[in-house]
């Protein structure tokens, strides 16, 4: 177990820059998830941590030691690949023990470690089988076993769950989380699935086109996204981004939003002192679906909850909740209400906006104000 620091790391293939000045530092025991749309460079970054790709510039430190020029086998890391990469000619047992064997560990100790790990992952009955005789979930476990048995400083996971079916994926996700809690290991995990990122991480790094957009705890990233990309990438359904104008309102500032029917809506914003220079200018109002509810489930003592009647366009029941869609500022807006809230498409209903959860973005730079 160890800390990991990525210092101003760049990567380019010829003239193409795939990673631009990435800075990430995590502590011993952190679970870092690199998340982003495909092609954002997250897998390349992982390969560079593993030592499988060269670093063009910048430094990579594991346990405060620069490892830029160390061979993958000397970095004391273990990696779980998307395709599992089990050696097809070896039994499960040999697969797991291979790394130990290559490091010259004596056989009795190898056997003991393999036994411990296979017990932990419940793959003992499979030890004599070949990878071709295993199901996807079993292969996944073996791949994890191969990493665990090494007891490395850092575990690297490259989209390990993307080849599993939906149910198994959720189960394995929980199991990886449990494993992390039990071992307290440092983990770097790549995924494009923001739910996986939210559930597993202690630190999330969101990337786009080779640039780190935000690094923070899941809650930070979710509540205070740095920019519109992060806001819309994290969370499902994603954050509502409504064009609005800031206006002086009573003693504070409010966001003026046009409604499809009726006059403009004025939603007061907390901390008006921050936004003085933005009065009368256009902004993007970001507010998550769960911060817009029916009046009954709104927080009763929250002074920043405001009610307004809006026209309901569509309702989408999910069982537990119902997503009520309306349009505000000429954009579709999703709110999350109780399933018995009584909203009916085509009619007006009362929406409760929890403005304490709202974030404002600059429409030009797309950064949070």
């Amino acid at each position: 177990m160890a800390s990991l620091e990525i210092r101003d790391v760049c990567k380019s293939y010829g003239n193409v820059e795939v990673l631009k000045h990435i800075n990430i530092a995590i502590d011993d025991g952190d679970f870092l998830v690199l998340v982003g749309p495909s092609g954002c460079g997250k897998s390349t970054l992982l390969s560079m941590i593993a030592g499988l790709d060269e670093i063009t510039s910048g430094e990579l430190l594991i346990d405060k030691q620069v490892v830029n020029d160390l061979h993958p086998s000397q970095r004391d890391i273990a990696m779980v690949f998307q395709s599992y990469a089990l050696y097809p000619n070896m039994s499960v047992e040999k697969n797991i023990a291979f790394g130990l064997e290559m490091r010259g560990m004596p056989k009795p100790e190898r056997d003991k470690r393999v036994k411990d790990v296979s017990q932990m992952l419940q793959i003992e009955p499979l030890l004599k089988r070949k990878p071709a005789q295993l199901s996807g979930g079993q292969r996944q476990r073996v791949a994890m076993g191969r990493a665990l048995v090494r007891e490395p400083k850092i575990f690297l996971f490259d989209e390990p769950l993307s080849n599993l079916d939906a149910k198994l994926r959720v189960d394995m996700r929980t199991e990886i989380k449990k494993l992390h809690q039990r071992l307290g290991a440092t983990i770097v995990y790549v995924t494009h699935d923001q739910i996986e990122a939210m559930t597993l991480a202690t630190r999330i790094a969101i990337m786009k086109a080779g640039v780190l957009q935000q690094l923070g705890t899941p809650q930070e990233v979710y509540d205070t996204p740095n920019n519109i990309f992060v806001a819309s990438f994290m969370g499902s359904p994603s954050m509502n981004l409504i064009p609005a104008t800031l206006a002086a309102h009573q003693n504070g500032i409010a966001a003026r939003v046009s409604r499809s029917q009726g006059n403009d809506l004025l939603l007061p914003i907390p901390h008006p002192e921050r936004y003085q220079s933005w009065v009368d200018k256009p902004i993007i109002l970001g507010i998550r679906p769960e911060a817009i509810t029916d009046t009954g489930s709104a927080e009763p003592n929250n002074p920043w909850v405001f009610q307004a009647d809006c026209h309901v366009d569509v309702t989408e029941p999910t069982g537990a909740d119902v997503y009520v869609l309306t349009s505000l500022g000429k954009k579709e807006m999703v709110s999350r209400m109780r399933s018995n809230c009584g909203a009916v498409a085509g009619q007006s209903t009362a929406f409760a906006f929890n403005m304490a959860k709202a974030v404002l973005f600059d429409p030009h730079t797309e950064n949070r104000i």
């Binding site: 086998s73 990696m79 690949f81 395709s83 050696y87 097809p88 291979f98 790394g99």
Partner: protein, 291 residues
């Protein structure tokens, strides 16, 4: 007859036609072999009476024994057994060395890519298609300089050189479909360059090893030109000796001995096909299906 019955019966008609044609062609193709085999088991007297296609009246292995142990090749009359071993001594190391080198080349060209690797591969491929005749004189000079002219070792060198091209082609295409993540995983696990090759790649290369071995074995065993050019006399391979045996008849032409000798010359390749032929087809298909 209903429509369906018509279809079934006309299908049967075509099937019969197709199989008949195939059997006729197979028989036609096998006829020379059949003649060779029965001739080699006949006595010389029987041959003179004609009846090339009839089975031997007295089955005898005399011709085989003579071909193996006492037939005259050139001036010595000790049969072809010495030359048979020459061929074995030439083929076995050539096949092993060229297959191994091809495998290593394929491994490097796909998993340890470097600048210009495509050019190297293109040049190696080009090497496959250089006609043998072109290299005869330069090759004999090289062998002379190395002091290997007229030896089996020299022949091994020639065949390895020529074999590397095809062996590399086979292995490169096979390994191109081999998941690179396995090599990466092995690297992280601490396996060395050759560790990965011996422990991960080679054990998964069964089909392509069989293909390469069959290909190299038949080509090298059947080679005549290099054998005749670089290893005449005592160290000549089987093919050259067979030619000499057929040409050095004194008096009566002993067709049965010739045929027996030819059969002996052909048996090893036949054996390799019978033993490994199944894998040959499978191996040829493997790359294409996966790729």
């Amino acid at each position: 007859m209903t429509n369906q019955e018509v279809k079934v019966s006309s299908g049967r008609f075509w099937r019969v036609l197709i199989y008949t044609t195939l059997i006729v062609f197979a028989a036609f193709y096998l006829l020379p072999l059949f003649v060779m085999v029965i001739t080699s088991f006949k006595e010389l007297d029987e041959l003179r009476q004609g009846n090339m296609l009839s089975l031997p009246i007295h089955w005898t292995t005399a011709a085989w024994q003579k071909a193996w142990g006492s037939a005259c090749v050139g001036l010595t009359c000790e049969g072809i057994n010495g030359y048979f071993w020459n061929s074995i001594k030439m083929v076995v190391p050539s096949v092993i060395i060229s297959t191994l080198l091809g495998a290593i080349n394929g491994y490097v060209l796909t998993k340890w890519r470097f600048k210009g690797d495509r050019w190297i591969f293109a040049l190696m491929l080009f090497g496959c298609f250089i006609p043998f005749q072109i290299v005869l004189i330069p090759m004999s000079q090289v062998l002379g300089t190395l002091g290997l002219s007229g030896t089996t070792t020299g022949l091994v060198l020639v065949h390895v050189t020529y074999g590397i091209g095809f062996a590399t082609l086979f292995f490169r295409n096979y390994y191109a479909a081999f998941p690179t993540e396995l090599v990466k995983a092995a690297m992280i696990d601490g396996a060395s360059f050759f560790g990965i090759f011996w422990r991960i790649l080679l054990p998964s290369s069964g089909p392509i090893i069989v293909v390469t071995v069959i290909w190299q074995f038949t080509n090298i065993w059947n080679d005549f030109l290099f054998g005749a050019s670089f290893a005449a006399g005592e160290s000549a391979p089987m093919t050259v000796a067979l030619n000499n045996l057929v040409n050095s008849s004194t008096g009566v032409k002993e067709y049965n001995v010739d045929m027996a000798a030819a059969m002996i010359a052909a048996l090893p390749t036949l054996l390799v096909y019978v033993v490994a032929g199944r894998y040959f087809v499978r191996g040829l298909m493997a790359g294409s299906v996966k790729g």
